[in-house]
């Protein structure tokens, strides 16, 4: 009985990152945009969880959350899934080639990921004739990069609290 209860409880805990992923998409919090401050939480979220616990965040769910973000932010449908999957691809690649993951290596490898994600975003908007705000892109990239350690720490706490192990 006891074992069964623990298993069920664990199953629910595993869903927290997934729940958060769809919450930030549906609630329109993928990008927190204040006057001079803009962070793309979605990018950090996908990168971190695919890098750390790929078994929790399915690629199909990442794709769906991208579609939701596109609709909420009136972006061309398919653009955000593509960018998020590019980030997930890089995270998956880094996971395979890296032996030991820590904050510094994560953070540094996030730089090329962010650059490529933004270039892809720029290309999509350019091809589809959407207005491009270069300053917004720049500010968003800088603050997303700077905020990575803060969100990293929060997600680490979440991993510790929920006790989600890599090989479970």
């Amino acid at each position: 009985m006891n074992v069964t209860f623990k298993k069920k409880n664990y199953g629910f805990v595993q869903l927290i990152p997934l729940f958060l992923l769809f919450f930030i998409s549906l609630n329109g919090n993928s990008i927190i945009d204040l006057n001079y401050f803009s962070i793309n939480i979605h990018y950090i979220f996908i990168y971190y969880w695919v890098l750390k616990r790929p078994q929790i965040l399915g690629y199909g769910f990442i794709f769906l959350s991208g579609i939701v973000t596109d609709v909420i932010f009136a972006m061309p449908i398919g653009s955000n899934p593509l960018i998020l999957l590019i980030i997930a691809s890089f995270a998956a690649y880094i996971r395979v080639v890296t032996v030991r993951i820590n904050l510094v290596s994560d953070w540094l490898s996030f730089i090329p990921v962010l650059i490529i994600a933004n270039i892809s975003h720029f290309i999509i908007l350019y091809i589809l004739n959407y207005p491009i705000e270069y300053l917004d892109f720049f500010v968003n990239s800088i603050f997303t990069f700077v905020s990575y350690p803060i969100l990293w720490a929060i997600f680490e706490v979440l991993i510790n609290i929920t006790n989600i192990n890599l090989h479970d």
Partner: protein, 280 residues
């Protein structure tokens, strides 16, 4: 060399093509599917439009449900703030009411006189508007678009480019219509360009959104004599909107004239969509 090339191949296969332990789809397949979706987005055809409308309606409803707690908190904090300044506002409103009462008699005289003059020049009488009132279901700030999602669409005969009003004040236009929802592009958005007329001088200009709460006035005559407080109305020049819908007041700030909107965009819960005249 061969071994190292093999290693890279294995890494790429493992990361992109294989599905992984608990993955149902491979990254590569989903990336290709995303590219196909982007391509489909550029195709304009009725079946695709219906499909897109269905997806958008579903997501908007889901989003409205998920963001309802945040909306509730915002509502309570706004009511609390309003309660705090109720005394101050009451005295201001009393003063304003006094002035308006005085103006009222003069205005009614002007309306009668205006109608008489219109009859004389054989102009069509103003027809009553056909307004649809609907609730704002989503007002998410996006860095790419300042817009509202409203809970009515083609089911209420809403069409693209119809003006959206807060009370009787112009706040934006419809840019995307689904079955049960529509998107309003606000005048504050970077893409918004509205032909306006500024009274009392009667200057024509273009009201351009800047991404913040105060849009600017472009293409004014070179030697204009605008003053702060001049009223801005739609000019109806492009034939899209009716002329004379109030938008706001001019603020002269440095070199660029800005417009203080008559409606506070952040406090809007219901909007009126002008479906055009009933006679049309």
């Amino acid at each position: 060399m061969d071994t190292s090339r093999d290693d890279i191949g294995i890494v790429i296969r493992s990361a992109f093509i294989k599905k992984g332990a608990q993955q149902r789809f491979s990254l590569f397949a989903l990336i290709i599917f995303s590219i196909i979706l982007i391509y489909v987005e550029t195709i304009k055809s009725k079946p695709f439009d219906y499909f897109r409308s269905f997806i958008k309606d579903t997501i908007y409803r889901g989003s409205a449900v998920v963001s309802s707690p945040a909306k509730g908190i915002k509502f309570f904090s706004n009511s609390f703030r309003e309660h705090i300044k109720v005394f101050e506002e009451n005295s201001r409103l009393k003063e304003e009411n006094k002035v308006l009462k005085e103006k009222k008699y003069y205005n009614s005289f002007l309306i009668v006189e205006n109608n008489e003059l219109k009859k004389i020049i054989d102009e069509n009488q103003a027809v009553s508007s056909n307004l649809v009132t609907t609730r704002v279901i989503l007002d998410k700030k996006s860095p790419y678009l300042n817009s509202f999602i409203i809970g009515s669409g083609s089911n209420k005969k809403i069409k693209n480019s119809m003006p959206a009003l807060d009370g009787l004040n112009f706040i934006g236009r419809i840019v995307n219509v689904n079955f049960f929802s529509s998107r309003i592009l606000l005048v504050t958005d970077l893409n918004s360009k509205i032909p306006v007329v500024i009274e009392p001088e009667g200057y024509n200009a273009i009201l351009s959104g800047r991404g913040d709460s105060k849009p600017s006035l472009d293409y004014l005559p070179k030697n204009h004599t605008l003053k702060s407080g001049n009223k801005v109305y739609t000019s109806g020049k492009e034939g899209i909107f009716k002329p004379g819908i109030p938008i706001g007041e001019v603020i002269l700030n440095n070199s660029t004239p800005l417009v203080n909107l008559a409606s506070d965009i952040n406090q809007i819960t219901f909007v009126n969509i002008d479906l055009g005249s009933k006679n049309n």
